[in-house]
């Protein structure tokens, strides 16, 4: 019997540690985040959900930790180890042009000639890159200190598994691509032909 008391005593201590760690990690919930969750799941506003979420679930979890605390301790250690060895969920990588994306070395004049935008309804300024001309001028000014201009095209898969195509122009210094200007940024969809039929 004394072993059971010891086991449960250690379980209570483990519960205190797990609860403390959870509180530290959780912090204060932001108002906007709460609004977001409620918008996604309107049931969160119901009393039954509040009771289930705030009373029943924590109580069951506490009983479980006291009863099978070695598992809780193991999971807590595993989580801590994952944080230190950098195997946490990977965040979305920022896009950067790489050497194998480069296509053609061009002058500013050549680029501006090929990027003229014409519209029969005159709903665009007759300037290179049309409505994005100011952004292009800013790009040139920011990179006025030298380097070559290259066109590029990059197909990639995002961390979320989406395929996308990005094309445009990039400043290359000493062979290394740097800042870029986008002309195309589109998602590549694989499944749209399934069940689709041509309408015209």
């Amino acid at each position: 019997m004394i072993y059971l008391y010891w086991y449960l005593g250690v379980g209570l201590a483990a519960l205190a540690v797990v609860y403390g760690a959870h509180r530290l990690k959780k912090g204060k919930k932001s108002e906007s985040l709460r609004d977001l969750f409620e918008s996604v799941n309107p049931d969160r506003k119901k009393l039954s959900y509040c009771i289930l979420n705030n009373v029943v679930a924590p109580t069951l979890a506490a009983i479980l930790v006291v009863a099978v605390w070695p598992v809780a301790v193991y999971r807590q250690f595993k989580e801590m180890l994952q944080k230190t060895d950098g195997t946490e969920i990977e965040e979305e990588r920022e896009f950067a042009v790489e050497r194998h994306h480069l296509q053609e070395h061009l002058t500013v004049q050549e680029i501006e000639r090929r990027e003229a935008v014409i519209d029969p309804l005159k709903a665009v300024p007759e300037l290179p890159f049309g409505h994005l001309n100011a952004a292009w001028q800013e790009f040139l000014n920011d990179n006025a200190d030298g380097g070559e201009l290259w066109s590029f095209s990059a197909r990639r898969q995002t961390t979320w598994g989406c395929k996308e195509l990005r094309s445009g122009y990039v400043v290359v210094r000493d062979g290394a691509p740097g800042t870029h200007f986008l002309t195309v940024w589109k998602d590549i969809l694989d499944d749209i032909d399934d069940g689709a039929k041509q309408a015209h």
Partner: protein
């Protein structure tokens, strides 16, 4: 429509006046109106509120083109749901309707048009449109969101 071409304009360096987030049902803070004329995509209206509380229109972003803007910056698929709703999804544009009109756009010009058949609604009374409560859409620094046609 369940695509936001103006979002791409901002992501590609176009002037973004910073819209106010009034509601979680409209995170981007504006609604754009679009038109296809002779297979070209045009932005013909914009309603929104800026962070300083003032109203935003097309002229806020394109002062020299307050009536019509050719969306030459946009490349991608525009999805326009049609028919009755088959399945309700309380997130963004996840709900499924009987058909999807898919416009493949290259630099503002529609290159192909397809219709995807998703099924037939069981109920005659099934809604045919997006409702306000379904419009929870999460903005990205890149692409995403949805606007009206």
């Amino acid at each position: 429509m369940c695509t936001t071409p103006l979002c791409d304009y901002f992501a590609m360096g176009g002037f973004n006046p910073r819209f106010k987030l009034n509601s979680t049902a409209l995170w981007r803070g504006y609604v754009g109106s679009w038109e296809i004329v002779d297979d070209r995509l045009y932005l013909i209206g914009l309603n929104g509120t800026l962070e300083d509380g003032s109203k935003a229109s097309l002229a806020t972003i394109f002062p020299e083109f307050p009536e019509r803007v050719f969306a030459h910056w946009y490349s991608g698929m525009i999805r326009i749901p049609q028919g009755k709703r088959l399945e309700y999804v309380h997130m963004g544009y996840g709900s499924i309707f009987e058909r999807d009109l898919l416009l493949d756009v290259e630099r503002g010009v529609v290159v192909t048009t397809q219709v995807r058949q998703n099924g037939v609604a069981d109920s005659e009374g099934a809604p045919e449109d997006y409702e306000v409560r379904t419009m929870t859409v999460f903005p990205r620094t890149g692409k995403g969101e949805g606007e009206s046609t």
